[in-house]
């Protein structure tokens, strides 16, 4: 891109963590996404962590309004978005203030000096200018007048005529992206194509952004600020075709796939809520798959409509986050009683109440497990990574349809918005989940053939699913206790006791229909087992690697099914001296494990709205191993 080529050292790194940080209006998410896209195309393994405020436009220039995007990429398989950035791009003083504490000594820091005005310093809470007061002495600081150079570059470019100063200034995120692309030898064709497509209706804006992007790249080439550039070779990953995918997108695709695999139309009844709304947005696009989406008047109507659709032979799905689950509880109980398939997707966020809408947490496990009146068991499935949300959605649909039960799918904000390379499955690898409805009477009564809606399959204990429109099988179901088999209203004490136990046994029996818990114990001699569930898989596995690299032994097991647990769970837990359970809650899985197996597991818990760091978990593991 430039005729001038300087002598520079190029260092090969095995992995890099970069973080973009700016005002929530600065386009940091887009910048991070696009850098990720370049990185995926290049063939690195990667993991991302977007971190943004709940306010759409928080007060500009304040630390509260800072939006960040972290990307970890490598030449080998990685498990987390990285503990600490190797390079931080700070678009203004507030972004610097909010992120500097995470930056290790010696890291690269790229700051937009144009934004360090006295007004912005004051808004960020800086009494003196950190660029000159020694605050940044321990970092390699690159002072870049990003805004002014962007404006100059845009105005000097043909085709960007008609772009005013404000619009030109808005392209400064692309200048930053260009500079980072240069620094890490990223391919640039994809970004230019992306900008042309995104701004197809306003070619002058596209030209301005491309001009800024190229200017950033060329600036790196010509400035003397950077003496080193970095290369991270493509990762050696399992062969196949990959795409980059976020958890919510993978989960949406998993639901579309579940419709095709079960042969049932998908009906999504949902009410918008962060961080689950993207699933509603995504599924609303896929009408050609016969997917019906219904934006209901509230959370209750969302699940009610889904349950009504299931009664009619659709696969009903509702998507929400913790506060929405609270509102849906009564209908989940009804679904338990009706024994109809239903998938309840809970993208967990910080709680209680409104809590931290855009931050992650795992504190809805006990709500999913117990948050209903009466004995109301519901199977729980939890994905471990963004791509795994696809398979977990299919598994939830499998259990829901096979066992005629509501099923919880517990994802979280970290999985929902984080992304990773995803090895595309082939059609043959997907399970056959075809469902058959009951069409014939299943009982002979005094007056001849009858249909008994609660006459169970002896193996699965699932009841028959006969949908309206099936002649001769007209029946009524409801939330009042029903007689075993026949399904008429029954207030008989012994019958109720039997029905409660049957519903419990049905869900418990799923333990025989799920894979056993697997243990990763390379040496086979570990005495400490670390047990996790959901999105902590990556950080826990990364922590284990670090510990093993030091010559210590640790075993790792990760639960995908939280209710019921795999049949061998107790046996595995009891075979280790110590069991450590790290969770982003105050010990909810630990409570269940202790109650179920009487194993005195050790908890490691934090609820900071962010995923665990690998180094932190490694430290905890070492402590537990050495104690």
């Amino acid at each position: 891109m430039s005729e001038q080529v300087r002598e520079r050292e190029t260092r090969r790194l095995d992995r890099v963590v970069v973080r973009f940080a700016g005002d929530s209006g600065d386009g940091m998410q887009l910048t991070g996404e696009q850098f990720t896209s370049e990185t995926a195309t290049f063939g690195n393994d990667l993991s991302t962590l977007p971190d943004f405020p709940a306010e759409i436009r928080a007060p500009a220039g304040t630390p509260a309004g800072v939006s960040g995007f972290q990307l970890h990429f490598s030449d080998h398989d990685i498990l987390t978005p990285g503990d600490a950035p190797d390079v931080l791009v700070a678009m203004n003083p507030a972004a610097l203030k909010a992120n500097l504490k995470d930056l290790p000594s010696g890291a690269n820091l790229i700051v937009n000096t144009d934004a360090f005005t006295s007004g912005n310093l004051k808004k960020a809470g800086y009494a003196t200018d950190p660029l000159t007061d020694g605050t940044l002495d321990e970092y390699v600081v690159h002072r870049v007048p990003l805004t002014s150079m962007t404006i100059t570059a845009v105005h000097a470019t043909e085709g960007s005529g008609g772009v005013n100063k404000k619009e030109a200034e808005r392209a400064k995120n692309m200048f930053a992206l260009g500079l980072m692309s240069w620094l890490y030898h990223r391919p640039t064709g994809g970004t230019e194509a992306f900008l042309n497509k995104k701004f197809a209706k306003r070619p002058e804006i596209a030209a301005a952004n491309i001009a800024a992007f190229r200017a950033g790249f060329n600036y790196g080439e010509t400035t003397e600020s950077f003496t080193v550039t970095y290369e991270v070779a493509p990762a050696r990953m399992k062969s196949g075709t990959y795409r980059r995918i976020s958890g919510n997108l993978a989960l949406s695709y998993g639901l579309v796939a579940a419709g095709e695999l079960t042969g049932l139309p998908i009906f999504l009844g949902s009410y918008p809520i962060t961080p689950a709304s993207d699933i509603l947005h995504e599924l609303s696009k896929h009408k050609r798959f016969g997917v019906r989406t219904f934006q209901a008047e509230d959370e209750i109507a969302g699940i009610g409509s889904a349950l009504g659709a299931s009664f009619g032979g659709s696969l009903g799905v509702t998507t929400t986050s913790g506060p929405g689950v609270a509102l849906k509880s009564e209908t989940i109980g009804l679904a338990v009683s009706l024994e109809l398939p239903l998938v309840i997707v809970d993208i967990q966020r910080g709680g209680p109440s409104t809590g931290l809408p855009t931050k992650t947490e795992q504190a809805d496990l006990l709500q999913a497990m117990f948050g209903r009146n009466g004995e109301a068991p519901v199977p729980i499935v939890a994905p471990r990574s963004p791509g795994d949300c696809f398979d977990a959605a299919i598994e939830a649909a499998r259990l829901a349809t096979k066992y005629r039960t509501p099923v919880f799918l517990l994802s979280d904000g970290y999985l929902a918005n984080g992304s990773e390379p995803w090895l595309l499955p082939t059609r043959e690898e997907l399970p056959d989940l075809r469902v058959s409805f009951t069409t014939e009477p299943n009982h002979t009564g005094a007056k001849g053939p009858e249909f008994w809606p609660y006459l169970r399959d002896p193996e699965t204990l699932a009841r028959p699913w006969a949908i309206p429109g099936t002649p001769g099988l007209e029946h009524r179901i409801g939330g009042i206790e029903k007689s075993d088999g026949q399904g008429n209203i029954s207030y008989d004490p012994a019958n109720h006791d039997r029905m409660v136990r049957l519903r419990a046994a049905k869900v418990a029996g799923i333990a025989n229909d799920i894979p056993p818990l697997e243990v990763d114990d390379p040496s086979g001699t570990a005495q400490v087992l670390v047990l996790g569930w959901g999105s902590t898989f990556g950080p826990i596995a990364a922590g284990c690697r670090r510990v093993r690299a030091k010559g210590l032994q640790v075993a790792q097991a990760h639960l995908r099914h939280l209710n019921p647990f795999p049949a061998n769970t107790g046996e595995i837990l009891r075979s280790y001296d110590k069991v450590l359970i790290p969770e982003m809650n105050l010990g909810q899985l630990r409570t269940l494990i202790r109650a179920e197996y009487l194993v005195d597991a050790i908890g490691y818990n934090q609820v900071r709205g962010l995923p665990f760091k690998a180094a932190e978990l490694a430290g905890v593991l070492e402590d537990v191993i050495n104690q």
Binding site: Y253, A309, P468, R476, G478
Partner: protein, 353 residues
Amino acid sequence: MTVTTNRSGISNRLLDLVPAAPGPQSRKDFTSDQEVRWCPGCGDYAILATVQGFLPELGIARENVVFISGIGCSSRFPYYLQTYGMHSIHGRAPTIATGLATSRPDLSVWVVTGDGDALSIGGNHLLHALRRNVNLKILMFNNRIYGLTKGQYSPTSEVGKITKSTPYGSLDRPYNPVSLALGAEATFVARSIDSDRAHLTSVLRAAAEHPGTAFVEIFQNCNIFNDGAFDPLKDRSTRDDVTLRLVHGEPLVFGAEGDKGIRRTDDGGLAVVSADAPGVLVHNASAADPSQSFALSRVTGDSHGVTPIGIFRNVDVPTYDEALNRQIVDAKSKQGDGDLMNLISGGETWTIA
């Protein structure tokens, strides 16, 4: 989907999507084997008998009829009909029925609810079902009291009602269900009386003929906790003088001698005048603007000494379920059926050998 041909005159473009009954049906075909367990003398018995007597008229396959209810005395209704049915949870029947009706255009979906179920705990769902115009028939039994919880005042109880929970008299002002439904721009709104079988049947018929949400308020006597609430409308000696029977296209005239009429007042309301006075209105249930229907809903026994029954509003506008299913048909015809593997491999991909 089967298109029916053997109906007794009841038809609309959505009902035509429901398979026809294989032959003539009788009340017995719609009667389940369950023992009816309302209090002796309850108005619900009369409504049940009328509905069971009316359903065969529809000429649709029994297995394609679904009754969904919430919680309350009225919500036991589905158990007594030999159709598909669901006795769900308090106030939520419209949500369940909405999911069922939108995903199954081949069904005739009915909601049975009461004044507490529909207007109190389920008020929000009722409003949204009405504004969306989903193809549902909502029968709301209004007895102006809570029966199943044993006699507390309801959202339609009159102010000052002495009940178990209001020994000094209830304080909150009641809803007028017809005004509420019209305010939500419901496309079909009617009122009838449990004991008037012929009138109730005619209203049910019109509701069934209406494509979209039909809201039917049925005055229903609770002889245990609020006995006689609608006696003036039922007593042979008084009823003609206090009941205005709405007939589309006919003058708004009532009274044993047909001597009273309804006229607009200067402030936009309605007043009772002599039937031969100038300006007596003609009822127009199909007006696009619901203003006159709303004004009629404000005519009550308390305020005007007369209660209108019949169809307040009946307009044909596109339904939510038709529009949703049209989007699916259009998407499939324009883009073809979805291909799962194409979908998931969309976006940028790369291959590692």
